[in-house]
Symmetry: C2
Subunit: 361 residues, 2 copies
């Protein structure tokens, strides 16, 4: 079991990473002194798989709790659904000091985190990420949000959890595609900040894809450390430091939007976005072909897509104009000088972006 502290003053919290730790969930949460009433936001699949373990651990620690089931789909991360949950929570929470437990992937985490952020102007919440993607990314850092028709994550809050409990054992229930999607974000961390992690991924990919516990714990811990360190320096994305976490996301999000969110998983779209960002970096003379090749190889070996299918160049370019960070006439790209070294560049020319996307079409 590993513990990583996210240092944010009064809002500091621990990320706990281990195998089988959900069986100690009651004891872990009790240690945080958040009262004994828990409102668990999760989906049916997770409840069917782990509901008993969670329930018995919470009961042993004297908790009163309720499971609130949501659909396991981006569609349930809507502002409307957040309102439905808030009203249900208001009934459960009457005269109680409630804490929320978000158990699931990014959808459950973002939605539950947002509800926790605004209910009574903020109540405590715990993240129990059940996907590799959530364990290395969305559960950490306090970005909570729900979607509008007008755009993803347009409504939200920066609101930190009181703990993140990442049980690598939960990942065994995921299909390979989910694992690969998480791997894409781990590869992202390696590319922007950690050359050693990149080498580790190259050398241990088979073990990771087979969910070898020690390998998983290694890469999840390394990823969480990078994310924690960046969040500590720029909690509210005000200093431009946190921005580098968006490596691969400018075009990645555009690909997701252009394909109506039903063709690629987030990680798959981000893999394609990273390859595009690499192509832009190469076109601007920041990296050479062999670096691009090495990244391309790792992404390919992970089973992630390296070619964009099912959508068109003009759709992707159109969608990238609606990026949340795209203000005025300036886009903003995260580029790399080397594996492990990222930087932000504004106003990359449309011509270069088009050429870079075309390479992957």
């Amino acid at each position: 079991m590993k513990t990583i502290k996210v240092n944010l003053g009064k809002r500091s919290y621990n990320i706990i990473i281990g195998t089988g730790i959900i069986n100690s969930i009651g004891r872990i949460i009790s240690g945080l002194s958040l009262g004994k009433d828990a409102y668990i936001i999760t989906n049916k699949r997770i409840k069917d798989l782990y509901g008993k373990d969670i329930s018995s651990s919470l009961s042993r620690s004297g908790f009163n709790f309720k499971f609130k089931l949501i659909q396991d789909s981006e569609k349930s991360k809507s502002l409307e659904n957040a309102c439905v949950i808030i009203k249900d929570l208001a009934l459960f929470a009457r005269k109680k000091n409630v804490c929320i437990i978000a158990m699931g992937g990014g959808v459950a985490g973002d939605l539950a985190g947002f509800v926790a952020a605004v209910f009574k102007r903020g109540i405590p919440y715990i993240q129990i990420p059940t996907t590799l993607l959530a364990q290395v990314d969305s559960a950490i850092g306090g970005k909570t949000a729900v979607d509008l028709k007008e755009g993803k994550n347009l409504v939200g809050a920066f609101y930190q959890p009181r703990a993140v409990i990442s049980d690598t054992g939960l990942l065994t229930s995921l299909n390979k595609r989910h694992i690969r999607s998480g791997l894409a974000e781990i590869i992202k961390y390696a590319i922007i900040k950690d050359k050693n992690l990149f080498s580790y991924l190259e050398n241990n990919l088979k073990g990771l894809l087979n969910l070898k516990p020690s390998s998983l714990e290694h890469v999840i811990t390394a990823s969480c450390k990078i994310k924690a360190s960046i969040v500590e320096q720029d909690e509210r994305e005000e200093r431009g430091i946190r921005t580098i976490l968006n490596f691969g996301h400018t075009i990645g999000h555009a690909i997701e939007t252009a394909s109506n969110y039903d063709l690629y998983s987030h990680g798959e779209a981000i893999a394609l976005g990273m390859l595009t960002a690499c192509a832009v970096s190469k076109k601007l003379g920041l990296i050479n072909a062999s670096t691009v090749k090495r990244i391309d190889n790792l992404i390919k070996a992970s089973g992630l897509p390296t070619k964009i299918r099912g959508t068109a160049l003009n759709k992707i370019i159109y969608a990238h104009y609606f990026d949340k960070k795209f203000i005025g006439k300036k886009n903003r790209f995260i580029l790399i000088d080397d594996i492990g070294k990222a930087k932000v560049k504004e106003a990359v020319s449309l011509e270069i972006i088009k050429e870079a996307v075309k390479e992957r079409l």
Copy 2:
């Protein structure tokens, strides 16, 4: 013109108090460097009265802006209405750095502040309070919220404005009842923190009720200083310091709820709540009858109610159990040791509360 700084580190801002300053609104907001796109949340009455002044000042400073009208009623401060406004804002805000201007009383301020808090995880907002109550209380301190059927202010955020612009000239359009409602909160500040302000109110009540600019500026400035100082020490109501601002509010809110929010204005209910809190303080031997009499006299002279009409003891007691701050079996009263000296007391016996309420029935 007076300027009071609210010191909250990176979230610091100024409260600007003066007469006729809305005519400089464009220049004042330009000085904050928040971009040139403003989304003004207000009601029809305010727009009819001051829309032209605001528009021409903003236009002179090169702003693009939109007025979004809401009903001037607590009903418009619902979570549903917040969602409606957020969606409209999403359309206006596309590709813009928008700031929100909340122009109105507590309803517009709380609602607009909440929308600003959650849109894109927080965009800047300016408070232009148009009621005395909002100028001394709700516009300052960053408490934003909307209502659920299950309770007032159950959904919200602590989110500070970038400036509060209080034009005492706007108060001339208010009826006397609104002015008295604001006076109730000013009397509250005097009772909990400032004996001199209490004497000033006793000696200048006529001028205040006649909206004498110098008197208004004096009491608004004194009130804002008290509120700012308390908020600076306890921004998120975590240290129990901010709690004393709830003097008169435990029973005041209960009276509002018990009378379905349509009999008393907030200030009137708070006046009754303060008298009840004084009665509790006296019953517990903290203050004597002459102190109660002095407070009673000032409230009466202000034209605020001193007797509870139109609801019953059991309704008030029932409603007070649902107070947001009422956790477990403990209620929480703000009591006074003297005029200018407040303190928090938990678990006041039900018998004493009932007797205190009865005195005002």
